[in-house]
């Protein structure tokens, strides 16, 4: 009962209008098909889409499709995280190294991701190795750049404290620069996770035999629009949930960062 009251309290008149817009648009969509105003194979009614969505759950088809993608996404992300954080720590701490590697990084960063796939196909084949490599390359940048920024953002007073206590370089890196960078690293990881998901789908669309991207393109070729849209909806929902979950983990792990801001 209390939940109901809280929900009721949340929705002011204005906010209700916002939700009404969403419901209105969805209704419009449904009606446009039902009344025959739009007669196209590629424009299915929402009810049909939802039906296909549910069907996939019943047959556990979604499990296979998404499981395959999530596996590759996680592998690519973890690879990106390991490389991004370690390289980021090094480059953040050493201005010299950073200057040497930076132009290369900048060029790879602005290169449109899909363009990497054909060359890498020749170097790595069309299997998981290719896809995980492409995902990792795309996902490494937010983590790398954020880690570098985080290391450089270490409080100069902390570094002076380390100097007055003659703390060795290695300890400074691991015990001051790394913790200082953590809020940035987390934010970078969260962004990377989103990129990893999208790039997983893209690689599957271009070079796939399994996974969500391949499924969506297959449904496109087969003109099975409902299944295609259902997959997109589910993909969006999963992406959203992953983001939310990661935010929750992030906020619990670095309580001290937010507290410090509040205190200062």
């Amino acid at each position: 009962m209390f939940t109901f009251l809280r929900v009721h309290h949340l929705m002011t008149g204005m906010q209700l209008r916002g939700f009404a817009v969403v419901i209105g648009l969805l209704l419009l969509w449904e009606l446009s098909v039902r009344t025959g105003a739009v007669r196209s194979e590629s424009w299915p009614a929402i009810s049909t889409i939802l039906h296909a969505l549910a069907g996939g759950f019943r047959t556990e088809g979604w499990g296979a499709v998404f499981g395959s993608s999530l596996y590759r996404m996680t592998a690519g992300f973890l690879l990106a995280a390991v490389v991004g954080i370690s390289l980021g720590l090094l480059l953040g701490a050493s201005e010299r190294l950073h200057r040497i590697v930076n132009p290369t990084l900048e060029i790879v960063r602005v290169l449109p991701g899909p363009a990497l796939i054909p060359p890498l196909i020749f170097l790595l084949g069309v299997d998981d190795a290719l896809k995980i490599a492409v995902i990792a390359i795309a996902a490494v940048f937010p983590i790398l750049l954020n880690t570098i920024a985080g290391v450089k953002a270490a409080d100069p007073v902390h570094l002076l404290v380390a100097r007055t206590f003659r703390v060795p370089r290695r300890r400074v890196l691991l015990e001051i620069q790394l913790p200082s960078a953590l809020p940035y690293v987390f934010a970078g990881c969260r962004i990377s996770l989103g990129i990893a998901l999208i790039v997983t789908v893209v690689t599957e669309m271009l070079a796939g035999s399994a996974g969500v991207g391949y499924y969506i393109v297959s449904m496109q070729y087969a003109m099975r629009a409902s299944e295609m849209y259902a997959a997109i909806i589910l993909l969006s929902a999963i992406g959203y949930l992953i983001n939310r979950l990661f935010l929750a983990v992030e906020q619990r792990s670095i309580r001290w960062a937010h507290r410090v801001e509040a205190h200062v």
């Binding site: 100097r163 007055t164 206590f165 703390v167 410090v260």
Partner: protein
């Protein structure tokens, strides 16, 4: 008592946007082992810079600092510098306990617990710095400094951003710790009363470009008490002398 610290003709010039700024023209100062010396001067005269040079954190433009006869070029063993911005100097991701252990190569938890106890924060071992008040944070910084068992402690306006009562409290703490450990302390402060209350000698710096105007011996007898000593005629005399000199127009 032997000479522990010698500051000889130390000068410091900074490159700023408008040109070169001479912070210290020539500083000469000697500190004996076990002494408590305060450095006072007009604000902006370079007191903190001088202390950082002695700490080995900032290089002098010319002149030298000798610690037991050896030149100071980098933070030397046995010298710890305490920061003015104490809350910023504590690592927010470490507990109080871990913060105190930070300066040590080997953790030595019993030693750190001992010093935490000395500053009265034994019960706050597992808390985080941002959970403590300003005065408590400064105590943690002091405990951290002492845990490293230095021979010289350099305090850079350590109590300037706490309220008056906490400052009196911390003054007492510092004096107590000094008496018990016998380390040499160099204190930079803008608070003349604090300088007179705590030290054996007070060095007065001129305005920028700074030199040592005069070093005043402190006749106030020890042990000192927070209220009575501050009403002692010798306290008042030194305080009068210092304030008059400081408030003089350039």
């Amino acid at each position: 008592m032997s000479e522990l610290l010698q500051v000889r003709r130390v000068a410091k010039t900074f490159d700023a946007r408008e040109g070169q700024v001479v912070a210290l023209r020539s500083i000469d100062l000697t500190v004996l082992k076990g002494e408590f010396v305060s450095i006072v001067g007009p604000s902006g005269c370079g007191k903190s810079t001088l202390l950082q040079i002695i700490a080995g954190l900032v290089p002098a433009s010319s002149g030298e600092v000798l610690l037991e006869g050896r030149a100071v070029v980098a933070p030397p063993e046995g010298v710890v510098y305490l920061f003015q911005q104490y809350s910023r100097s504590l690592m927010p991701w470490l507990t109080v306990e871990k913060n105190v252990q930070f300066g040590l190569q080997n953790a030595a938890p019993e030693r750190c617990a001992h010093f935490l106890d000395m500053v009265g924060l034994a019960d706050f071992r597992a808390r985080y710095p941002w959970e403590l008040s300003g005065g408590m944070q400064q105590r943690v910084a002091i405990a951290r400094a002492l845990a490293a068992e230095p021979r010289v402690l350099l305090l850079d306006e350590p109590f300037s951003s706490v309220d008056a009562l906490t400052r009196l409290d911390l003054n007492g703490l510092i004096m107590d710790l000094w008496t018990r450990t016998g380390i040499t302390i160099l204190l930079v402060t803008h608070d003349v009363e604090e300088a007179v209350y705590l030290s054996d000698r007070v060095a007065l710096l001129t305005r920028r470009p700074a030199e040592v105007a005069q070093v005043f011996p402190n006749a106030l007898p020890r042990p000192r008490s927070p209220v009575d000593s501050r009403e002692d005629s010798r306290f008042l005399a030194l305080r009068h002398e210092l304030l008059t000199r400081l408030l003089q127009p350039a």
